[in-house]
């Protein structure tokens, strides 16, 4: 017997590709632009969002029958704010340098449209287990894109991956740099992320024509 029923598995797998929050729903773009210059920051951001969205969805789902609908947004905000502060404090305690790189963007997870979107669209109407899967699935879909973008931006922009030089030393001109190669400064600045995300969207939609919207 499979670990998850087919329906449950789809809750996780769908947002990874055919219903990806970034490339299909085009949500959560701000943070995808801001923190993907380094792979490490992308991974940490992805993990943070997985935690916040997974736990947050469960909490909202458990509370869904007692939240008065008029103040549900405030309740959702309190839940997500609490979780984000937890993440922020953990990062400050155990990965201070990284929390400085991520700066305000951890705090801004609160405003990430994906999170409020899943609370509203899914957790308010489904049980805790399903909500948990949906939260994990959407956060993973977000994280996958973040990591792909972060990979290309760090590799082409700084010549490193996770901070480790992989193309040689740009100052001492070793490795690839000996041939005259230079880092692409364009990849460091946020607009490059927009273009990389655009290219991912382009590739994805030309592989699966069903995703192309009617003009």
């Amino acid at each position: 017997m499979a670990l998850l029923s087919k329906k449950d598995a789809n809750l996780i797998l769908d947002p990874l590709a055919d219903n990806n929050p970034i490339t299909i729903q085009v949500l959560g773009i701000c943070s995808a632009l801001a923190i993907t210059a380094e792979l490490k920051a992308s991974v940490v951001m992805a993990i943070s969002v997985i935690f916040v969205l997974g736990v947050g969805n469960v909490v909202i789902s458990l509370l869904r029958n007692v939240i008065p609908s008029k103040i549900r947004i405030i309740v959702q905000l309190i839940v997500v704010a609490t979780l984000v502060i937890v993440v922020d404090q953990v990062l400050k305690a155990f990965a201070y340098e990284l929390s400085k790189t991520l700066a305000v963007f951890v705090g801004l997870i609160i405003t990430n449209c994906i999170i409020m979107g899943r609370f509203e669209a899914f957790a308010l109407g489904n049980g805790p287990w399903k909500s948990f899967l949906d939260g994990i699935g959407n956060a993973l879909g977000y994280g996958v894109i973040l990591i792909i973008v972060g990979f290309f931006r760090e590799l082409l922009g700084s010549g490193t991956l996770f901070g480790i030089p992989v193309l040689g030393d740009p100052i001492a001109k070793t490795g690839l740099y000996a041939t005259g190669y230079e880092n692409n400064g364009f990849m460091i600045i946020p607009p490059a992320a927009l273009i990389v995300v655009g290219i991912i969207i382009w590739v994805q939609r030309s592989r699966n024509k069903a995703l192309i919207e009617e003009a």
Binding site: G180, E182, N184, G185, F186, I189, I195, G198, W202
Partner: protein, 422 residues
Amino acid sequence: MGLKEKLHETKLKFQGKKMAPAFNAIHTFLYAPNETTHSGAHVRSADDLKRTMNMVIMSLVPCLIFGMFNTGYQHYLALGEIDAVTGGFFGSGFWTWDNFILGFWKILPLVVVSYVVGLAVEFVFAVIKGHEVEEGYLVTGMLVPLIVPVDLPLWMLAVAVVFGVVIGKEVFGGTGMNILNPALTIRAFLFFAYPTWMSGDKVWVHGAVDSAGTADAISGETVLGFLAQGKTTEMAQQYDLADMFFGFIPGSVGETSTLLILLGGLILVFSKIASWRIMLSAIIGSLAMGLIFNGIVAAEWIPEYSKFYSLMSFEYWQHLLVGGLAFGIVFMATDPVTGAQTNRGKWIYGFLIGFMSVMIRVFNPGYPEGVFLAILLMNVFAPTIDHYVVRGNVKRRLKRLKNATIYPKVSEGAEALKTETV
């Protein structure tokens, strides 16, 4: 069997196949097609897309040739092997064989890389999409080598051309559908990706980068570069007004000679390819901004130690002679695809290009030039400008319709029919 028949036969052989557009392109590039329309009403005109493009390329050739001479001239001048040119445009020491040969061998690879890479991308997209290869790249391919520094590494140019043609043009649907000028997209990519090769005092003169740090180090600061550092007197010692106008100054390959750009601009205006409205309004715009800056300096609103002081006090009309402003106005802003389409829109579009170019030039902290940024910005706004011009027109005519007196018909026994045209 001649080449033409052979090409025609290959073309027929591949008809309906995947590679057909590629062969068709080679055929139409070299020869007129065998098939012409025989019946029906057609507007006959000699200037199709291919001829329009060729006209622009021809107007660029003087700048290209001058760029070759200037590359050699700046190089030997910096080395101290020759003296500064004297005696006007055809003065001695500039139009020499040595200068030309050096520049030729430096600039030819740029042109070749630009065309080969750009056309390869066009071919690939034509084959994938199954449409014919369009002539769109012909002009871009000639513009690109003219707006980059001469020592730019060729692989960087190739990467930038791929980026510019794919992201700047093909994703929007190819020639005629692009929002941004592809040549400027290529330059913007180079500028943000490899800033050390696109600005500073080393890149404008051939050999300066290689010799940096050695005893033979040479440099060639541009006029704007001097001004941005507040070295007004050094600039005035090195370059006079005639140098700026004739183009005996360091800069991107084809942008230095205002005189020859003017010539190219006249060709474009008289062949009715480029819009004189855009050119004129862009010149007015840059003069306006220059005058405002001069006014600020004259009113002593800005202290002399300010880092903007030198550029602000630069005589307003001289802005047109230095940097890429003239080249941008004549060859880039007038791109019929990315510019404004309505006549009134062209005035606004051109004015803002000139205005912003000088503004960015003065206030840009990193690099004292901003023409390409201003034109790209206005490219984005061109459809908006057109939209409001068209809406304004509709509104005005609606109002006229409302106020129009419509008389009864003659047959109803009233005065003559007199309706105002709407």
